[in-house]
């Protein structure tokens, strides 16, 4: 396991500047659609024609992965699932797998959390209950069933630590100290803790240091984990930032329909990624919380 960065946070100009920090072939830890993927950087990665990315879904993936896969940026996906949730299958992922164009390492949600928590704690593995008897085990030579060393006749699965090169996500706030407010989306902290570097886009900058505020601090990811931040207003669109804007369900349906064919997907990219106009974002109002 490589020693991880603890430098101070860089303030980058925008999502494209973040995408420039993500080299081809990087192993990216990404949150699910409900937990603030940085869609702004996903779009920027497509624009900079990133290639051979490896994606880790923590613990599942959706629109962010489907866009990157469809645009040819991805060589491999490790995830417990890739889907658009209520909007249905992830069409570009599904087609890429069915045509054997994408390497998939199938996992199960708690195995991914466990693997990242192992890196978070600096241990080479952690055990996980269940899973034994699932065909997932045979497909994962890195997973190993052992006899519990503390009890006789008790088989248990060991999951090795995973260390992404880069944690990438969006957040509501960054402050002047480089701290990031992730609120209740604590999987973002786990990804950041376990990754060698971490880039975050944010809605708004807050003055001062959120760690000085007892009410905000519980939702803060300390800047010690944050390599760089960049502002990206509505940077999770068409997904949501709790308390700021809701999921754009209509846009997700539009995407699910468009991306059913390669041509439809290209037209979607043309309109929403290549000819980038944030004004097109039409996120609904936030729920009141």
């Amino acid at each position: 396991m490589k020693a991880l960065s603890s430098n101070s946070t860089s303030f980058l100009s925008d999502a494209d500047a973040v995408a420039a920090q993500i080299p081809d072939g990087a192993f990216l830890g990404l949150p699910p659609d409900y937990s603030m993927p940085s869609m702004a950087v996903v779009h920027a990665l497509i624009r900079r024609k990133a290639r051979n990315l490896k994606l880790l879904g923590v613990p599942v993936l959706g629109l962010s992965a489907d866009l990157l896969i469809g645009a040819g940026c991805v060589a491999e996906v490790e995830s417990s699932a890739v889907s658009l949730g209520e909007a249905g299958l992830a069409p570009r992922f599904t087609e890429a797998v069915e045509k054997n164009l994408l390497k998939v390492k199938d996992a199960t949600c708690p195995a991914i959390h466990t693997a990242l928590q192992a890196t978070e704690k600096g241990v080479p593995f952690m055990p996980l209950r269940g899973v034994i008897g699932s065909d997932l085990v045979a497909l994962r030579p890195d997973w190993k069933i052992i006899e519990n060393p503390l009890k006789e006749k008790d088989p248990i699965l060991l999951i090795p630590a995973i260390q992404p090169d880069i944690a990438l996500f969006h957040a509501r706030w960054a402050d002047e100290a480089g701290n990031v407010w992730i609120g209740r989306r604590k999987e973002l902290a786990t990804i950041a803790h376990a990754s060698r570097t971490c880039y975050v886009t944010y809605e708004e900058q807050r003055p001062g240091d959120m760690l000085e505020d007892e009410l905000l601090a519980p939702g803060v990811l300390n800047s010690v984990y944050v390599s760089g931040v960049a502002q990206a207003k509505r940077g999770a669109w068409p997904l949501s930032v709790a308390g700021v804007y809701g999921i754009d369900d209509a846009h997700l349906s539009l995407y699910a329909k468009a991306a059913k064919t390669k041509q439809g997907f290209q037209r979607y990219l043309e309109e929403y990624v290549w000819n980038h106009t944030p004004e097109k974002n039409s996120s609904p109002a936030a729920s009141r919380a």
């Binding site: 937990s35 995830s79 209520e86 199960t108 269940g130 006749k153 008790d154 604590k186 999987e187």
Partner: protein, 238 residues
């Protein structure tokens, strides 16, 4: 008898299966199970704790997406729901691939099927394709050999046409009831795996007036916030 939607019948079946659960977790894209759980709470289980995994507002999970699995590992989830691209007669489920088709993936099933107190399998499509003799890929096994630690397993399998209960000792499903409009023979023809038939096997009871009233009022309100398309379709604003 009042007319009702197919979704309302299925939600009633689920509500009747909840029994004395104290804490039920409901995953993504599960509006019918969610409806059944809220109905159970409204009917006869006022203290039932319902944790919607993807609740859009006031989400109960403050430790991120790991908390559901930790809760289950702690034994604090009494009941969970799983589906399957395929489900077989040993209650194995497949969420990964079948007949050249790719599905989203196993999600947390390989863990939750073991760790939740019990699991209700739910899949609307009732066909030999889905209810297969043997799943092409085991995302999560329906049972485990002695010595493999496992807190829970399947309780029942609900489809759009019938309700089966799981017989743990026999490792077989038993047909419990057939939904109105379908027959025991039709179920046998459209099920790819073998199963027992309960001597008392009957037609699934239709939703009562009270069940319908609750679903169309307080339950609808809960569902609308998190499954807006579903709620709008099943209970269009009157």
């Amino acid at each position: 008898m009042e007319p009702y939607a197919r979704e309302e019948l299925l939600a009633c079946c689920i509500a009747r299966l909840i029994r004395d659960a104290r804490h039920v977790a409901v995953g993504a894209a599960s509006p019918i199970p969610a409806t059944g759980v809220f109905l159970s709470k409204a009917l006869n289980n006022k203290k039932l704790r319902i944790s919607l995994l993807h609740k859009r507002q006031g989400n109960a999970f403050t430790e991120g997406s790991r908390e559901l699995f930790d809760l289950a590992g702690q034994g604090r989830i009494d009941l969970f729901f799983l589906g399957g691209a395929q489900i077989d007669g040993e209650a194995n489920i497949n969420l990964v691939r079948a007949e050249g088709k790719r599905f989203p993936g196993s999600f947390g099933s390989a863990f939750m099927y073991f760790a939740a107190g019990r699991t209700i399998l739910f899949r609307e499509e009732h066909s030999k394709r889905v209810l297969a003799p043997k799943v092409d890929f085991i995302s999560a096994p329906g049972w485990s050999p002695p010595g493999v630690e496992r807190r829970g397993g399947p309780q029942a399998l609900l489809t759009g046409k019938a309700l089966f209960v799981w017989q743990k000792d026999k490792r077989r499903f038993r047909l419990e009831s057939v939904h109105p409009g379908h027959t025991v023979r039709e179920i046998r023809e459209q099920t790819g795996f073998d199963y027992d038939v309960a001597p008392e096997c009957a037609v699934t009871a239709a939703p009562s007036a009270e069940e319908l009233r609750l679903m169309r009022n307080e339950v609808r309100t809960e569902i609308l916030a998190n499954y807006p398309e579903f709620a709008a379709r099943v209970w269009p604003s009157s």
